[in-house]
Symmetry: C2
Subunit: 464 residues, 2 copies
Amino acid sequence: MMKKDTIVALSTAWGTGAIALIRVSGDEALEMTQHIFESRKATPLAQLNSHTLHFGHIVETTAENKTIIDEVLVAIFKKPHSFTKENMVEISCHASPYIIQTILQLYSKMGARYAKAGEFTQRAYLNGRFDLAQAEAIADLIAADSEAAHRLAINQLRGGYSTTIKTMRNDFIQLAALLELELDFSEEDVEFADRTELQKQINTLEITIKQLAESFRTGNALKNGIPIAIVGKPNAGKSTLLNALLNEEKAIVSDIPGTTRDTIEDILIVEGIKFRLIDTAGLRPTNDTIEALGIERAKQKMNQAALILYVIDTTTHTITEAKEEIQNLQKELKNEYLLVANKTETLNNENLEAWQNAFENSLVLISAIEKKGLENLQNKMLEMTLKDGFDKDKTIVTNIRHYESLLQTLEALEKAKNNIAKQVSTELIASDIRTAIYHLGAIVGEINNEDLLDFIFSKFCIGK
Amino acid sequence: MMKKDTIVALSTAWGTGAIALIRVSGDEALEMTQHIFESRKATPLAQLNSHTLHFGHIVETTAENKTIIDEVLVAIFKKPHSFTKENMVEISCHASPYIIQTILQLYSKMGARYAKAGEFTQRAYLNGRFDLAQAEAIADLIAADSEAAHRLAINQLRGGYSTTIKTMRNDFIQLAALLELELDFSEEDVEFADRTELQKQINTLEITIKQLAESFRTGNALKNGIPIAIVGKPNAGKSTLLNALLNEEKAIVSDIPGTTRDTIEDILIVEGIKFRLIDTAGLRPTNDTIEALGIERAKQKMNQAALILYVIDTTTHTITEAKEEIQNLQKELKNEYLLVANKTETLNNENLEAWQNAFENSLVLISAIEKKGLENLQNKMLEMTLKDGFDKDKTIVTNIRHYESLLQTLEALEKAKNNIAKQVSTELIASDIRTAIYHLGAIVGEINNEDLLDFIFSKFCIGK
């Protein structure tokens, strides 16, 4: 599976900057660079120490003349002590598109190939630098835009997650080995793997895998943002609340009921956790076609939300009316909700207390227009969406490919358990276990499928 | 003038990429990095060799816990062997905005300051790594988008240009020294500097400076693109020619005379030389207000152009008519022009020959619609705008600040020559020569004016 050709790419972003970094990896990385690099030192690059930097010029030599392309720093990494475990060169040049293009073309002329997206990381994986889950964590790390998403990616990159998967996989391999031993002695009709014990072991592993699969809901939310729908009757102050939380005039606000028709989304980061706030059209019977479509969308968003902020206008609603509305809402939806009693700027202390007592913990009093009670609301959002708290050391699945593999593992285990209960032949049970092993292995890349790998790495950026 | 605080900046472009480079420079660069960098090696960074790379983690340590921010490569440069001649650290981290921000903030918390635009280069200059003209060449190098502009910037960066200026400046310093010797012995009324000889020497230097100043026209054109106006009567095929040269549908083309109103510009690079092609409104008397404004603009652009391509429709013009039009054009403009006889696809060989014979070298026959004759036209454009050829080894001024300094030098020399002719006192002549020395010195930065320096470096990008 080792690809031996030499690849080259710009690894830093295109655009205005001072420095650009060009990466070269492969057997000929040093030799090719030698042809276009001139420095004061006479020592050939191949004889210099790994992890050293060298100042000099990139030059283009033709039959007629020699042109200096740039003053650069060349970093040398010798196999296996490089990111890809191959010989590597990194050139820091001036970030001019002309210079970058020219250097890339010089390598291309010498037979290097422009790297595909993620190809450096793919080589690192193929050469055993890390497993597939760790490789995928690099793409997540680059995309992470909140503390929580960043932490999940770093943990996965550092391999804690991979260890959990590999340990389980090894346990299954032992189970499979016992079963296969029975097959070897099948004529003698022995049972090395006690069926009750087997069932018990499978149950234990199944619980761990189920927990991991369930963590995907949290993991995915932390990575992509926890969806929070802001819902309520027209003019309850939903858009005002969105703007207050975002601290900008994102949604158009007016006194006219039905101002918001499209659903409006934006990102809010609270204590390192990313939320996707979704402002929706006010819920009411309407003859306006566009508004009706908006209300339809609002309902879809409510269904997908991890938490619904149900906004009530305390100036137009009594506590009893609010309770009725909530009961109606609960009939339609199973999602968790938090009652947000808005426009409290007009309520006296007695009224405020009455509202709080009536709903207790499921209500937050706010004044969106005066930006009051928002911190309390944000804390509630954190508390209700990350119920178990956000345990830093807990293994959390964030990758949908891993999630699907876990579900497939569970399916295989379910089959195995049924087959054990039905006392079917050892062959079938062993096959179920092997299927489970295959799917767990797919997560960390202990598989042999090049198409799958190309697909995974194609989602990376070029130069990584 | 040494600024001792430690500065930090992102040196690569913001945006999607695999790797980002954060630069730190100053006395505390190594010590600060030591606080947030963890690797397997126990050796403190300050004791490691310059120009070495080290793999490890950037960590954020608080009272409660320690968070890994990223896996990075840290490059160490020890003074004076770094770009700024100060201690420097370059961190290659993953190009995630979250990671970049966090690392910049970590340095900021330790007392580092975010670098101003160009501040790394400014420090390199202040610490004597190169002179001012070389420092300015770095900004030009990054901006260069054609081979010619790139070559000029590299030559200036490599210091050939600075040597020319410095040699002249030294010649003037010798002249000034002789004159000042006279002042020391003024009571004795001696003349160390023979006036005729002095005049001769000034003349020689003046010629060189004039040539340099004149080279700015070429230098500026090579850097920013040589302006070429495409001019002619409506429907002569000017926009078709623009599109054909650019090989894209840049300008709207129709059979209706007066289609083009705005002037349309785009860049064409021919053999590494950058041209700015300017398509203009067709010239004719008109009552249409917008078209009239367009024609006004066309005339402005004609005045500014280095070369005018005057397009004639050979299907509607006789040779005599074409000659008349050209004569009218010459009355209005002093710029160089090339007659471009278009729509030759309908002419027979006899006609083609007649046109060519009538105008000889000042005419190119083309068919814009069939993209014929374009290479010939491009060669003519090169030939007519770069008359002396583009001598690679010739010193060419590309920077307007240098050009202005050269003009100021010439002005001082003119005064000196007048004063010598008028046989005025040695003091005045010496003062003129000193003014010339000052202005030449300003080009390479042998001056002492911090405001000027801050202004020059503020045009750089951050991180350089």
